[in-house]
């Protein structure tokens, strides 16, 4: 059965409840995406990290906020709430205009999933990367696809689409 995934907008979602979460904010310096990521994760339990997978997935969200949201303007702030006690949970907010292409991205992702489901690899290859009006050659155009797979407790955008909440649960230690 074909059950497509998609990005969800829900302003009232419980993932945006930041009570009890730690907080840090950064100037939007593109050259420091991975450095900021590691600062947030410095006390993360080892089995949450799954090699460098947690770092990689969080860095994609930080990059999106800094580059696409705040246009790498160091005067603009990226706010990160995080909780690494029972699960890896983050709320990341930028000062940008929001992910205005979200619906177009969902339409694109639907076609991509359908091509894969139908084993139509020619179409799938042409749909492999999302190219939006602001994409450049260092944008892989695939970070959100992996994100929807990785954040197994949800990935939710606020109504303004400049804030995202994500959760990854771990059962019985690191997942394979």
């Amino acid at each position: 059965m074909f059950i497509p995934r998609k990005l969800i907008v829900d302003d009232k979602n419980e993932l945006f409840d930041t009570r009890g979460m730690k907080f840090v904010e950064f100037p939007s310096e593109f050259g420091k995406v991975r450095e900021y990521t590691e600062l947030i994760l410095k006390d993360a339990p080892e089995h949450f990290r799954e090699g460098n997978l947690l770092h990689q997935q969080l860095s994609e969200i930080i990059k999106n906020g800094i580059k696409h949201g705040n246009k790498s303007d160091p005067d603009k702030i990226l706010k990160v709430h995080y909780d690494l006690k029972k699960r890896a949970r983050f709320v990341v907010e930028d000062e940008g205009e929001g992910f205005v292409e979200l619906d177009a991205w969902n339409d694109f992702f639907y076609r991509r999933q359908l091509a894969l489901y139908q084993q139509d690899f020619d179409s799938f290859l042409t749909l492999a990367s999302y190219r939006g009006p602001h994409s450049d050659e260092t944008d892989g155009g695939n970070s959100l696809m992996a994100a929807l797979e990785y954040w197994n407790g949800g990935m939710i955008f606020n109504a303004r689409r400049n804030k995202v909440g994500v959760v990854r649960w771990y059962t019985g230690g690191a997942r394979g």
Binding site: G31, V33, R34, E50, G51, N52, L53, Q56, S59, E60, K63, R112, L116, F121, F124, L125, T126, A128, S129, E137, T138, D139, G140, G141, N142, S143, M145, A146, E149, Y150
Partner: protein, 115 residues
Amino acid sequence: MKIASEPFDKQGVFFELEGELDLYSTSELRTKILQAFDSDRTRMVLDLSKLTYLDSSGVGILIFILQTLRVKKGKLKVIGLSGTPRKVLEMSNIISLIPMASTRQEAEIEVLKEI
């Protein structure tokens, strides 16, 4: 990231990537890949056995290679994919598009075969 490359036969090129292919190192690889395409080297072998980190920018380069080689009627084989780079390619569903080989020798023979 370190990038080693070595041409083989008339149209072949072997690349070995060592370290982290991320949002900061992707453009260097892209430049080298474009140089290979410009010299008509469209039979490509990528050794990823020393690759320790791959993010969406790096996945994007792999997609770019696959899409370009399709247009240019070239061929790709990847060897040594494992660990989190493999996991990242699985999560973005790209893994099914990537042709693998087990050794460099086998990969070089395969990419030189007629399509």
